[in-house]
């Protein structure tokens, strides 16, 4: 399957009477966005704001970050099974608006988390500080259930991202990249000498605020399965995950999965990128066993030589990670796993909640317990009301000078386990 991905660079976002993209500037009509968001009767209001790199702005509590895209050729549309029909995507041509994102924010539960600082030390840890962010702070109607609110905000993000992506349909991309994977037989004929490599992506799937959707299906009710890696570039996997800001995968991470990009970079040169395998991280232990058994079984069936495994979230996924690693290695398939660490504030505790000698090749996204001081910023988009109620923040969080003492955990994407960042630890 082959996908052409056209990049359209967005250098600025402005709120304007009419939505359009001109000379790399995105103009957004607040009216139009409001209309889209408030279509959902569960939502009462939406406040639109723009946060640019370097500005003294803090966005919190962040729910999701989404890159607008539009499918211009080929079957299906972006976010299949969610916004578009469930047709298989990943072929044809897609445009992506680079350098920007739609950020949804809103207090879904009282301990909601996720900070994006656009400047200062915090900005170094989140990739989203480098983007022009169109932020939507979304409030629900009264007496709404949390899961309804979560769903409404999740959909509002995708709808607005799709709406903005649509503005690019008639444009000419600044750059175009091609991604192509081959069928089993084709791949063997084309690259007989190259090691066969796949990407095993673990998806958070545990309940409210901990879910991921694949073509609209709740991942916890799925068996491990195979995707063309280009499918995720069209939004086949979206985030419903609001907890563990530092190491959850936002929809932006899924769309721009760095393991997929870096495997494609080597594809046909040093390795044959065969496919992506997705597997879940359920609460029920027998599910963990089944899913990891299936993952290992597919690795064997596909005659793979190696895989990169990425994790999502904290704690019990360590068990899934080690199960996957151990079982895949036992099939004679080499693994490298990507995780992050909770080694305590002093860095001295055991980093993972599980371990096995088979996991001899580990990439880490850093210690999420590391303490960081975030200075007071001029403007807050969202609310600071709950800042002490977020993971890794404590009652000493808000200091006298207005700065915050927090753990990296609270920063959106800080220790991401798809290897999105340069942060590491030793």
């Amino acid at each position: 399957m082959k996908l052409e991905l056209g990049h359209i660079h967005i250098s600025d976002i402005q709120i304007a009477p009419e939505s359009k993209i001109e000379n790399g500037v995105l103009y957004v009509s607040e009216e139009a966005v409001k209309e889209i968001v408030l279509e959902d009767e569960k939502l009462k209001s939406v406040a639109l704001d723009v946060a640019k790199p370097g500005e003294s702005v803090r966005i919190t509590p962040v729910k999701d970050v989404i890159e607008p895209r539009v499918k211009v050729e080929g079957s299906g549309g972006v976010f299949p099974g969610v916004i578009s029909k469930v047709d298989t995507v990943g072929g044809g041509k897609t445009y992506a608006l680079k350098g920007m994102a739609v950020v949804t924010a809103g207090k879904i539960v009282g301990f909601q988390e996720g900070i994006i600082d656009m400047t200062g030390p915090g900005a170094e840890y989140t990739p989203f500080s480098k983007l022009n962010n169109l932020v939507m702070v979304i409030d629900p109607i009264d007496n709404i259930k949390q899961h309804e609110y979560e769903k409404a905000v999740r959909f509002a993000g995708f709808k607005v991202a799709a709406y903005i992506g649509e503005l690019a349909r008639g444009l000419t991309p600044d750059e175009t990249f091609e991604y192509e994977t081959y069928t089993i037989k084709e791949g063997l004929e084309k690259f007989p000498e190259l090691p066969r490599v796949a990407y095993v992506q673990m998806l958070q799937s545990q309940g409210l605020l901990h879910d991921t959707y694949v073509y609209g299906v709740d991942a916890k009710r799925t068996l491990s399965t195979i995707l063309n890696p280009t499918e995720v570039m069209d939004g086949a996997i979206v985030s419903g995950n609001c907890v563990s800001a530092c190491d959850k995968n936002t929809t932006y991470h899924h769309l721009n999965n760095p393991v997929i990009q870096d495997l494609f970079e080597q594809h046909g040169k040093t390795l044959n990128f065969v496919c992506q395998i997705i597997t879940n991280e359920n609460v029920y232990l027998a599910d963990k066993q089944r899913s990891s058994d299936w993952t290992a079984k597919m690795c064997k069936l596909l005659d793979l030589d190696g895989v990169v495994v990425s994790q999502e979230g904290f704690g019990n996924p360590d068990t899934d990670l080690i199960m996957n690693c151990k079982k895949i290695e036992a099939e004679g398939v080499k693994t490298v796993i990507i995780t992050d660490e909770y080694a305590g504030r002093d860095g001295k505790s055991q980093s993972l909640a599980d371990a096995d000698p088979a996991a001899d090749a580990v990439v880490t996204g850093g210690n999420a317990n590391q303490v960081i001081i975030l200075p007071k910023l001029d403007k807050v988009i969202g609310t600071m009301d709950y800042i002490t109620k977020i993971a890794g923040a404590s009652d000493e969080t808000l200091r006298a000078d207005g700065s915050l003492e927090v753990e990296l955990q609270v920063i959106t994407g800080a220790t991401n386990e798809t290897g999105f960042n340069k942060l590491s630890a030793r």
Binding site: P258, D262, L271, K348, S351, P357, V363, G419, L423
Partner: protein, 350 residues
């Protein structure tokens, strides 16, 4: 600006006094002298620091007169109040490595002066001290001096200035179990793909997080005749006299207990209990023989099936207790067991 002050520790060999035959050379201080590897260090320090004194001590002397050597060297160090204390590099010299680790640790702990040493990773001093002092890994011989100094000197300067020490990958010391964040040159996914390619090609690769590992020891020979043997009991099940007189912690124990069971034929609910917080203590508190089988061993002693039951047992709680602490406990009471003529040990765990 005045230069930072360094006190340097080396052995008799690197001081050009002699080899093994001079290993009993007692500790001495040479004020204002730069000796052997100190020259390379001085060069690397440039204008920033200078070696104000060199302490020379024979390896055998240090290890055989540990307390005195340590006290003497500490006194010498204290007098000169350096900004940093550097020991070695010791390369693969085992006793020298242990001496470097011991003295660097003591200077740091007792004088509050930051210390650093360097040695080959398989030097026994490395495992013993890498979690206590910064140890720069070196090649296994003095041929690696230049490379060692290249890492050792900047680290020593950083310590002397009181600057924050980065991760082991940045500042070049042996991983010491403390995880420190830093920014790599490439993003994680790229590092993962590169690591996988190396692993697939059968090349060497370096994991960013090593799984916890455990030691192996060769088995001891069998006990010739158990009916003549003195058998001792040791437990990680936390059995203590009722009331836990030594206050052994229910988890992450920082100590172990030594208890006399002379004349004790049975552990009862009234006399013994468990300090262990890692399991439901009800069964054990009812009858501690369920963890520490004193009753049965007394019977076997009477029947002549074992020589005798040692009158002391050793106990700690295995729950969450650091491997390093457990090792230290065992090293200590093993010496006592040997001194008491114990032939065999039964270790019970819950």
């Amino acid at each position: 600006m005045s230069k930072l002050k360094v006190v340097h520790y080396i052995n008799q060999f690197f001081a050009n006094i002699g080899g093994e035959e001079k290993a009993d050379y007692p500790a001495e201080i040479r004020v204002g002298e730069v000796v052997g590897p100190g020259l390379a260090l001085t060069q690397a320090f440039g204008d920033e620091a200078e070696i104000v004194a060199t302490i020379v001590c024979g390896d055998s002397y240090f290890n055989e007169n540990l307390d005195k050597a340590k006290a003497d060297i500490l006194a010498m160090g204290k007098e000169h109040q350096p900004d940093v204390f550097v020991a070695g590099p010791a390369f693969n010299a085992g006793r020298y490595g242990v001496a470097c680790g011991t003295i660097a640790d003591a200077v740091q702990e007792e004088l509050g002066i930051p210390s650093v040493t360097a040695m080959y990773k398989e030097n026994p001093g490395a495992d013993m001290f890498k979690q206590k002092v910064y140890i720069v890994p070196t090649k296994n011989s003095a041929a690696g001096m230049r490379a060692a100094v290249k890492v050792l000197a900047p680290l020593a300067l950083k310590l002397a200035k009181g600057e924050a020490i980065g991760s082991s990958a940045e500042d070049g010391y042996m991983p010491n179990g403390v995880r420190v964040n830093f920014f790599e040159q490439e993003r994680g996914s790229k590092r993962a793909v590169k690591m996988l390619l190396k692993k697939l090609a059968g090349k060497e690769f370096e994991t960013e997080y090593a799984m916890p590992d455990f030691d192996r020891v060769a088995p001891n020979p069998a006990v010739k005749d158990i009916t003549k043997a003195k058998v001792a009991l040791v437990t990680s099940g936390g059995i203590v006299p009722k009331g836990n007189p030594d206050h052994i912690e229910s988890s992450s124990a920082s100590r172990y207990g030594e208890y006399d069971i002379t004349g004790v034929n049975d552990l009862t609910a009234e006399t013994y209990e468990t300090a262990h917080g890692g399991f439901d203590p009800v069964y054990c508190n009812e009858d501690s023989d369920r963890v520490l089988p004193v009753d049965v061993l007394r019977d076997l002693e009477k029947e002549g099936k074992i020589g005798s039951l040692h009158h002391l047992f050793y106990s700690t709680t295995g729950n969450g207790t650091a491997v390093a602490s457990s090792k230290a406990f065992a090293a200590e009471f093993s010496k006592k067991l040997l001194a008491d003529g114990v032939d065999a040990v039964i270790l019970t765990s819950t």
